[in-house]
């Protein structure tokens, strides 16, 4: 990250002079259920640049979570390639840390601090216990959970658990932070609060984040660049800029226009997806 940022210092760099940190190139992903083989994404391609708050947006069934799992290394593409800093991804690794939607992503048998030091030490970030402790406390302070460092996760509220997960992800200082609908299971007020805090944290370090959501509003607030995906199978529909939009713009004319534009894009040719899902559930 250091090299690209030096060459980019001063002024806004043009897209050509700077290398994308993550390159997704014509990726098709498939997975098996009990009865079917599902194609989740079909020849999806995009570039993520350093400091991007890159959002994958689409309705359920567009393969955005599957795509994130592919980038994390949990699935191999059937065709195409995913490259991180020019190197093809083959396995999960601590250079791409994932923050999940589910609250059970925290290990229940470890305290808040231990969850972070566990990641730091197993992810080969540091071998020194004291240093791991320091880093963990720094990020616990950042997400305002100082008083809960020695608490076990089952005592925390949903929002606090997600804060810990984000702190754990950021403490690893990954090349790209992958967030899979991290706020979807939270109540509306907490979600708003968490979005603000995430933007605040981004202001501090300009980390690169890949964010999956199905909420158009959340995409516009959180994202700087939005990839719109169509469902069945997931294909690229558009790539839009949203770096100029945040909470303050919600309800304003410009914000509402983009919102409407994406909405039309997504629901113009909507396909009923319930059949396959119902068949799989049975």
């Amino acid at each position: 990250m250091a090299k690209t940022q030096n060459s980019a210092a001063g002024g806004k760099p043009a897209a050509e002079t700077i290398e994308p940190i993550l390159n997704v190139d014509g990726v098709t992903l498939q997975y098996k259920t009990k009865e079917h083989l599902i194609t989740a994404t079909y020849r999806v391609g995009f570039d993520v640049f350093p400091a991007d708050r890159f959002v994958l947006l689409g309705p359920s069934g567009c393969g955005k979570s599957t795509l994130l799992k592919g980038i994390a290394g949990y699935m191999k593409p059937v065709e195409g390639a995913i490259r991180l800093k020019g190197r093809e991804i083959s396995d999960p690794g601590p250079d791409r840390v994932m923050v999940f939607q589910e609250f059970d992503q925290l290990l229940p048998w470890k305290t808040v601090k231990q969850n972070i030091t566990f990641a730091l030490r197993n992810g080969k970030k540091t071998d020194n216990a004291a240093e791991a402790d320091d880093i963990a406390m720094e990020y616990i302070n950042k997400v305002k959970l100082t008083g809960f460092a020695d608490t076990y996760p089952h005592m925390l509220s949903g929002g606090m658990k997600q804060r810990v997960a984000i702190a754990r992800g950021m403490a690893m200082e990954p090349d790209v932070l992958l967030m899979d609908e991290p706020f979807a299971a939270l109540d509306a007020l907490t979600r708003l609060q968490m979005q603000k805090e995430l933007l605040q944290l981004w202001e501090d370090t300009h980390f690169t984040v890949l964010f999956v959501t199905h909420s158009i509003e959340e995409a516009l607030i959180v994202g700087s660049r939005i990839l719109v995906l169509s469902p069945h199978p997931g294909q690229v529909k558009a790539e839009l800029n949203a770096h100029h939009l945040n909470h303050d713009n919600v309800g304003q004319k410009g914000f509402a226009d983009v919102q409407q534009r994406i909405h039309d894009m997504l629901f113009a040719d909507r396909i009923l997806e319930d059949e396959i899902q119902a068949a799989d559930r049975a």
Partner: protein
């Protein structure tokens, strides 16, 4: 990568702004494979029963090959075929079927009585706190006491015969069921309790319509453990005292065969024990679970 705290604000990477684009029409996905059915072979191999049957046949074949190939002394390990024939003979030409019936009858009486008693205890415990304390005390004390250890006393009190067996069976069922039912009741969510009272349920109707269904996973788990203990106790008791009581059941059949050095008879008896166990666990309890907790999505 340096740690974030030392990084200067002006050296932070800046956003790379690039032009937007929108695809007017998306090419049709060409794989034709958006949702393909799995092939026949894939699906047959996915059937658990098929794979398990293959394993079972392999094990039986290994047993037979070992005993035939090495000419093992039939007293130590009879061939599978001989054991199987012994089972067939005992079932259809011997009195094994009556011995099974004898065991099952005693088991059902003991199990039923144990369930009834634990229901009484549990009702008492839900009605008042003293009952609840008594149950947790008694289960903590008696649940670790193997029922079979009471058999010597039972024979003293009730003499040789069915009554003694029923007594120890009750002991083996009662505490296991009472313990997990009691725990189940205590863990019924406040929300469900309030809903029940909201709709005006009281007393026995409250127990039957709210507590029992809500705690059913625990109750079933207790009944399964109770069955397992009872089955073990019965076979053990028949082995120990079948000799003294004379008219025995399945355990007595095994004991008798081993005393007469008819090892194939021992295996025949074990087959019968396994079959009954499988029927009760995989047919009776499985069906009850499928009809209730699985259908309600409550399995623990």
């Amino acid at each position: 990568m340096s740690t974030s705290s030392t990084r200067k604000k002006d050296s932070l990477p800046e956003l790379v702004i690039r032009p937007e684009f929108e695809l007017s029409d998306i090419e049709q996905a060409q794989t034709g494979d958006v949702a393909r059915k799995l092939s026949l072979v894939e699906r047959i191999w996915n059937i658990n029963g098929v794979r398990k049957a293959v394993i079972l046949l392999t094990l039986v074949a290994a047993w037979q090959a070992y005993t035939v190939g090495l000419d093992v002394e039939p007293l130590m390990l009879p061939r599978f075929t001989i054991s199987f024939v012994a089972l067939y003979e005992a079932l259809f030409h011997g009195d094994l079927i009556y011995k099974i019936w004898f065991s099952v009858k005693v088991l059902l009486i003991g199990y039923g009585a144990g369930l009834a008693l634990s229901a009484v205890l549990i009702l008492w415990a839900t009605a008042n706190r003293f009952g609840s304390d008594f149950i947790s005390m008694a289960t903590a004390m008696f649940n670790p006491l193997p029922a079979i250890a009471l058999l010597p006393l039972a024979m003293l009190w009730f003499g040789l015969g069915t009554a003694s067996l029923v007594f120890v069976l009750i002991h083996s069922v009662l505490w296991a069921v009472a313990l997990s039912t009691h725990n189940g009741f205590e863990n019924v969510s406040q929300t469900l309790r309030m809903i029940g009272r909201n709709y005006g349920l009281h007393g026995i109707r409250y127990v039957a319509k709210i507590l029992v269904p809500a705690a059913l996973p625990s109750i079933l788990a207790g009944m399964k453990i109770g069955w397992a203990f009872a089955w073990r106790t019965l076979i053990g008791a028949e082995l120990v005292f079948g000799a003294s009581s004379g008219s025995g059941g399945l355990g007595w059949f095994i004991f008798e065969s081993s005393q007469n050095l008819e090892t194939e008879g021992v295996f025949a008896g074990l087959f019968a024990v396994i079959l009954i166990g499988i029927v009760v666990e995989n047919v009776v309890f499985r069906n009850v679970e499928l009809k209730t907790v699985n259908r309600w999505g409550m399995q623990s």
